[in-house]
């Protein structure tokens, strides 16, 4: 997806290990978001950022932390991975906090994480 890159694309990790997922954007957008997508649950917001070093919790933040030291990078860390965190993780970016009709809300291609 243009302007937003997630890494890695796939990862298998063991229970109890820390894992960090990276979202990198080239759009210079202020707002960045981490979602997880699970069958039957749709997309659920984990954390979001409204600027460098400014972050807040979403709906399902337990077990996750985030950091944003630069405008272009937003990191999601699973402090001690559990099997319930097996999911597809999406990063998204937006120029504004408040939606306007001409706005986009761009998602990355996702990271498929398996915790065994």
């Amino acid at each position: 997806d243009a302007g937003i890159t997630q890494s890695p694309r796939h990862k298998v990790t063991e229970t109890g290990t820390p894992v960090t997922l990276r979202c990198h954007q080239t759009e210079n957008h202020r707002y960045m978001y981490w979602y997880r997508q699970d069958p039957g649950h749709g997309l659920r917001l984990i954390h979001y950022s409204y600027g460098v070093k400014d972050t807040d919790k979403g709906e399902v933040s337990d077990g996750y932390s985030v950091s944003r030291s630069k405008t272009e990078d937003f990191l999601l860390t699973l402090e001690s991975a559990t099997s319930s965190q097996t999911s597809v993780y999406f990063c998204a970016i937006s120029e504004r906090e408040f939606y306007r009709e001409e706005d986009g809300y761009t998602f990355g291609s996702g990271t498929r994480l398996t915790v065994v």
Binding site: Y31, L43, L45, F90, Y99, S109, G110
Partner: protein, 112 residues
């Protein structure tokens, strides 16, 4: 009870058919509604946006909101194999991106 309910499908139709995709919701305060299309192994992309009630048309796509029934629909006319994807609805009380609730998606397969 989930905020947003969406039939997961899969919905399989022949090319050229009219497709109707639907979501129901429980929060009567929702007033911002979006439809996203998600191809396999890709992130969702915004397809349609509507505010409050009524219809909105964009090419072969029509989004409809019925707030009295707490029901929204996406219609696709003259469906094409390239429309095969998962369609997600999303809605919010206020128009902050961080306040949207997503449906779980309906998988659509358009057969040539």
């Amino acid at each position: 009870q989930k905020e947003v309910e969406q039939d997961p499908g899969p919905l399989s139709v022949p090319e050229g058919a009219i497709v109707s995709l639907n979501c129901t919701y429980s929060n009567s305060a929702f007033q911002y509604f979006m439809w996203y299309r998600q191809y396999s192994r890709k992130g969702p992309e915004l397809l349609m946006y509507t505010y409050s009630s009524g219809n909105k048309e964009d090419g072969r796509f029509t989004a409809q909101v019925d707030k009295s029934s707490k029901y929204i629909s996406l219609f696709i006319r003259d469906s094409q194999p390239s429309d095969s994807a998962t369609y997600l609805c999303a809605m919010s009380v206020i128009y902050n991106f961080n306040k949207f609730y997503f449906g779980s998606g309906t998988k659509l397969n358009v057969k040539p």
